[in-house]
Structures are given as C-alpha cells and as structure tokens.
C-alpha cells in the first residue's frame, strides 16, 4: 500500500546505473528486467505507462550489452528510460493520450527518441499524459489518470504526469517530457523529482506531436540535476527537420556542476512571492532561498510587471496554435474515424467530435474563435504583443541577476477531481511556469521540501537563454547540501 509520508529511502540515478554497467557489476538486461518487474507490479495502481513491451525493451538491452562488450559503449549505453507518449517511436503505439491516436503505431522515430536509441539507451515504455499535452493534472488522458506515488488520491500534475510519477515511484530512472506551459516543471514539483525545460530551440521538435509549436519544448526528468545534464547531453542538438531547431556547437551541460555559488545573484521576482502561493509552498521556497544564501548566493529583488498577464496571453496563443496543429486529425490518413457518417464534412465533424476529449475540444474552439475573422487583432495579435512585453520583463530582470527563483506551482499536489470541473482553476496551476515558455527561456524544478501531508514542493529556477549549464550547477550545489531529492515515497522503492 502506498502512503503519503516522506521517508529517506534511496533513489537510483542514471549515473549510478551507468557506473555499475561500466564496472561490469550488472548487465543492461538485468537492470531492464528489474524495471520491467517493478512496472508489472505497480503500473496497474499508478497508471504511469500507457504502453510497455518487455520483449522490445530487452532486445534493446541485449544490443546494448553486446555494444559494451565490443568496447563501443557511450556514457548512457544500456541505461533504461521512459518516453512520454507524445514522442513518435518507430513500431511503438504512440497515442498522445488520445482516443484519436488510440491505434497509431508510429512509422518513424522522433529526433529525441533517435538520439536516445543511438546512445544505446533502453526504452522501458511510453508514459501516460494529458491528452495532446493539454492539462495540468494528467486527468484528461483517454487512458485514465495517473496517481501520485506520494498519495494515490492526488494527481501527479501534468501534462508529463506519467513520466513524473514513473520516476518518482522508481518505475524508470529518468524519462523524457515536454513543456508548453509548465508540463515538465509542474509535475516534477508535484512528485518530488527534477525536470528541465531547455531554451526554446535546443531540443528538436521533430516527431514530437505538436500542441503549440512556438512554445513546445522537450526536456529531461530525473532524480538529480546531474542526471538531467546527462540526459540533456543526449537529447539536445541541431536537427534540420525542425525549422526552429537552433544551430549551436554541442556542449557538455554538466561542465560547471562543481563551481561554487559564491557571488551568485538570485533574482526573486516580487510577482512570484505574492498572495497566490499556499503557506506550505512559501515556507519551503523561503527555506531553499535561505539555504542558497548559506552557499554564498545573494538574493536580489527583481520585478516582472507583466507576469500577471501570462495566463491570459497563453490561453490565446496556445489554443490558437493548437487549433491549427490539430486540424491534421481528420479521420482520413490516420487516427480515429467515426463509425457512422454521411458526407465528407459530416465524417470530419463526427470523427473529431468522437476522437478528441472535452479539454482538447475546448481549446480547439478557443483557438478557432480567436483566429476567426474580426477577432484576430483583438486577441491573437494583442497576445503576441504582450508576449514581447513579458519577454522584455525577463531581459530587464536578468540585468540584475544570474538566475531567477520562485515556486514552481502555487500548491502541492491536489486531489483527483478537485479542479476538473472548472478549466480556469486548472489553468491557474501553471501561473508561475507559463511566462517562461512565452519568453522561450530555460526553466527547471527541483525538490526543496515537503508541505502539508508530506507532499513534495518544487523550487523553480529560471535561467537566461542558453544558460542550462549554470542552472544545473546551481541545482547541483543545492543537492550536495540537501537531500530532498533523495527522498522517495514509502513503500514504492523496491
């Protein structure tokens, strides 16, 4: 039985697995089989994975062991991970959490999946998610909710809820996620793990089913900052098949992990520390800032005056882009087709009405409306202008500080069903994360304590463009001084 009390049980990191494989203490087949066993034991109660395929995973593991025996292993060869079900993986069912793609077997690999496969990593399965990544609780998935391993009556956050819960429960040592408005950081915070959304353009969107293309960004989810860096080293890199993929020299994101933090200027935006956050989240966040001061960092007050508009701006831009992206699901080339229909128009309408869930349809309708004749300037263009103001606020703030910190989520994990009746309440769960996507900046969440009921609290760290190495340094130094990231839900770690 899973309970809510935090305990000091150990976690397993990518680095530990990589070290054991390199030392010949175990094989990839053994490690993979261990995870498959845990998944078989716990997935039914947690709902982390939509698809597992043990034979496929073990085939990859055997190939990784052979590659190691041939002396050709890379840093993460043979190390298993889980992929969010938004990434196309050749031969794997790739549903994006939707009935629309309930039978879709991807005919090709996403760039991210291709990079992980080339490294020799083992895919454990495809993780559950909010339908088309639209949600903050994982409750919009067609395949049922994911339960938070810290308290199974609560949500894991979303939309990368399956990835987050899988890592928190020890059903994967790490996972990929995607973040359009907070979908890596918020579930990482609610499940007590680490998650990083890189600078927009760092990781290719090729083969990642599109939600809002100007905001979508893939990133790693794991137990430690060092593991995020290891996985980001694999995931990031230029890809000509994504027109927004940036051409930059390869870098080792873990190169600065050991740098001391003396003199680091931490920007604390006034708007992050207002009335919005609950008392327990505030206590944990304040304590984390105090810990950073002990490590030699200096807090600096900064301001993001337009941050309050980020949720309204996002709920124009993201649905607008989604309504366009999701027009491809027409019941003709792939995806759900209604059983009964009349003419072609009727076939489109019934197939889309039956294939999409309520939240996805709601967002398509919002997007269609704001893009429709007569409303385009008042909504879409205005939102794009405000987006620039929000980005400029960050640019101004970064003149006075090196990183920005604040809460990731205004509350700890809420109960299943608690916010599903009112979309606006759900949207406000991302109040601290959305502005970062609008500006295209890198952001991360790391565990920084526990709130009421022993539920994890996440600290958000926002960096300037391309400052991932510094952010990982800042997170790693905190993790050397604290052990919040080492806590696992009682009874879940085998």
């Amino acid at each position: 039985m899973l309970v809510a009390a935090p305990s000091a049980m150990s976690i397993t990191t990518l680095q530990q697995i990589a070290n054991r494989l390199a030392a010949g203490e175990c094989s990839s087949v053994e490690v993979t089989q261990d995870y498959i066993n845990k998944i078989n034991e716990l997935n039914k109660s947690l709902g982390c994975y939509i698809t597992i395929d043990a034979e496929r995973s073990l085939t990859q593991a055997r190939a990784a062991d052979a590659r190691r025996a041939a002396g050709k292993a890379g840093a993460l060869t043979g190390v298993p991970l889980a992929h969010k079900d938004i990434f196309c993986a050749k031969g794997w069912l790739t549903t994006c959490g939707s009935k629309m793609l309930g039978n879709f077997v991807a005919p090709y690999d996403a760039h991210v999946v291709e990079r992980c496969d080339t490294e020799g990593m083992v895919t454990l399965g495809k993780t559950n998610m909010d339908e088309f990544a639209m949600g903050s609780s994982n409750e919009t998935s067609h395949f049922g909710p994911v339960r938070n391993p810290w308290d199974v009556t609560r949500v894991p956050g979303g939309s990368s809820g399956g990835s987050a819960a899988a890592v928190a429960a020890g059903l994967a040592p790490a996972a990929t996620g995607t973040d359009t408005g907070g979908s890596i950081r918020q579930p990482a915070a609610l499940t007590g793990i680490c998650g990083l959304k890189p600078t927009y353009g760092l990781v290719s969107r090729y083969g990642m089913i599109a939600f809002a293309s100007s905001l979508d960004q893939a990133g790693p989810m794991a137990h430690t900052a060092a593991d995020l860096g290891l996985l980001l080293n694999v995931m990031a890199g230029h890809d000509p098949r994504d027109s927004t993929s940036l051409q930059r020299p390869a870098e080792d994101y873990n190169r600065d992990l050991e740098k001391p933090l003396k003199g680091l200027r931490i920007g604390l935006p006034r708007e992050f520390f207002g009335d919005g956050m609950s008392a327990d989240v505030r206590r944990a966040t304040d304590a984390a800032i105090a810990e950073y001061q002990k490590l030699g960092a200096q807090p600096v007050e900064v301001s993001l005056p337009n941050m309050g508009l980020s949720v309204p701006v996002y709920y124009v831009l993201a649905p607008a882009e989604a309504s366009s992206n999701l027009s491809r699901f027409d019941g003709v080339r792939y995806g759900h087709r209604a059983a009964e229909y009349g003419d072609l128009l009727d076939m489109y309408k019934r197939s889309r009405a039956g294939g999409f869930g309520a939240e996805v349809k709601r967002r398509i309708l919002i997007g269609t409306y704001v893009l429709s004749h007569g409303y385009y300037d008042a909504y879409y263009i205005r939102a794009q202008k405000l987006r620039r103001l929000i980005a400029q606020d960050f640019a101004q703030a970064f003149k006075a500080c090196d990183v920005i910190m604040g809460p990731t989520s205004p509350t700890t994990a809420f109960r299943l069903g608690e916010k599903s009746a009112d979309p606006v309440q759900m949207y406000l769960s991302d109040i601290y994360t959305i502005a970062v996507n609008l500006a295209g900046l890198p952001g991360m969440s790391i565990p920084c304590g526990f709130g009421e009921g022993g539920l994890p609290v996440g600290l958000q760290i926002v960096g300037n463009y391309f400052d991932e190495a510094r952010m990982l340094n800042v997170a790693h130094q905190y993790q050397l001084a604290t052990d919040w990231h080492r806590r696992a839900p009682r009874g879940v770690t085998a």
């Binding site: 100007s214 927004t244 124009v316 003419d343 309408k349």
Partner: protein, 95 residues
C-alpha cells in the same frame, strides 16, 4: 465581452467538430469563464509594440530542392482508417 450560443456553434463548425445543443450550452458556460480570464489582456496599452511569434529571431533555413524520402506508402497507409489500391477512401465528394 459575452459569447453567444451562435459563436460556439460557428467556431465548432469552423473547427469541424460536431456539437449538439446540450454540449454547446455547456461549452458556452465554460468558454465564458475562459474569455473573462483572457479579457484581462484588454487592460494594457500595447500600441507601438511589435508582435512576438518566437523567442529567437530565426531566419528560415533554405535547403537543396532534392528528394530525401523514399516511397513508404504501405507503411504510412497501415495506420489509415480505410484504404484501397493505395488510395485513402472518403465519402464521395463529387456527384
């Protein structure tokens, strides 16, 4: 601003989503809440500000105009709802 039932029906038609009257009513109530949130945008003066589409000022890359993908019709059509003789089947469009 307040949305009307006809706005919901019109958006649903444009989005090619079938919607019955009960659903349209329920959707209207929820979209009203969302649009009152979105309405907060109107309070700010945005004159003289350039719209921002992307975080990075990107130049679209050009590539050589040559074939890079082979024919994978069978593989791609294996996920289609209905095909025949290598074609996607839809209801008759021209009488």
């Amino acid at each position: 601003m307040t949305l009307k039932l006809d706005d919901v029906r019109r958006a649903a038609h444009l989005a090619r989503i079938a919607i019955d009257d009960t659903e349209a009513e329920a959707t209207l109530a929820q979209l009203d809440r969302v649009f009152s949130l979105i309405g907060q945008m109107q309070a700010v003066d945005v004159s003289g500000i350039e719209p921002m589409a992307h975080a990075q000022d990107l130049m679209l890359r050009l590539r050589d105009d040559r074939v890079t993908e082979g024919n994978q019709r069978e593989l791609f059509q294996s996920s289609a709802p209905e095909t025949e003789a290598g074609l996607y089947l839809v209801p008759k469009v021209i009488e």
